[in-house]
Subunit: 153 residues, 2 copies
DNA sequence: TCCTTTATTTTGATTATCAAATATTTTTAA
DNA sequence: TTAAAAATATTTGATAATCAAAATAAAGGA
């Protein structure tokens, strides 16, 4: 429609693509070159608490359990996670991070930290507020509009 | 660190995941169920101008030409695009959208439109300006910091 | 004309993913 | 209390998306 529209749209599209690319590549060129962005996200989900069941993690990542089984197999093979059966209910399987996995978890956390800090750094208090409330609106828009798809938690 | 940090971080993460999921699913459940999100992005890149070469589109999408060849094959098979050789330089191949492809292009455009409208709605002119400049800073940060990775245009 | 460069496609992998089938354990209900 | 149903996970058999390297074809010099 007007200028604001296309400027904003382009900004959002660009930033979105940037983040995607950065996350993908920051790893490869970084200290942990044997690990993919998907694997980092799995590690993130596993590390959210000390022990999680396959089901919980799969739901969190929004993948099927079959997919997760394979992901976890690989993480174990690479030494980032371990898996063991519950004693109370022998159907359930727990996953947890190894020391090596924890390290990745922390590195990724640091990446986010740095990203956010650099955003905030350059903004005045007022700009910060507006940015936050705009993003809240954006999120609200998605949640309302795509309730069906997003409702999962 | 402080509150702003975690609020912003969570917002960005949420929005990010939402967009990913929505784009992925909005299609399946919608009018165009035979088309994937990747394909829509390809259609978007192809539709940017009336005729584009394989090379241009591949660069735009940041995939290899081999990958694009396969993507375009499929789009053609499904009737969303067509391909023909240049007469001036018979090495180059042009791609363009069919009527059916244009339709998808417009639907996706509408999605973006609506998204942006929902953000702008409720912002004063002043706030709108601030939002835009904040996002510009954010983009600038990425471009500077991750120049190596992002430099491709 | 032959060599080099450019534009694309083909080939042969790998990774991420799903749905359906299978295996095991627990829960329920007759 | 035991047979059927439900829950939790894994395995299997596909398909998507992707890449790098090899092959193809055309253009542009020297």
């Amino acid at each position: 429609m007007d200028k604001s529209y296309s400027v904003l749209n382009q900004l959002l599209v660009d930033i979105f693509n940037d983040i995607l690319l950065i996350e993908q590549n920051a790893l490869k060129s970084g200290e942990l070159s044997d690990i993919s962005i998907t694997e980092v996200h799995a590690i993130e989900a596993i590390g959210k608490s000390s022990e999680r069941t396959m089901g919980e993690v799969a739901q969190d990542l929004k993948v099927t359990m079959g997919t997760l089984t394979i992901m976890v197999d690989k993480l174990i093979r690479k030494g980032y996670a371990e898996r063991f059966r519950s004693e109370e209910d022998r159907r359930v399987v727990f996953v947890r991070l190894t020391k090596k996995g924890e390290l990745v978890y922390k590195l990724h956390e640091r990446f986010h930290h740095e990203m956010i800090r650099s955003i905030i750094e350059g903004l005045s208090d007022e700009e910060e507020k507006i940015l936050i409330s705009s993003l809240e609106k954006l999120k609200e828009f998605f949640r309302k509009k795509y309730d069906l798809i997003l409702r999962k938690e």
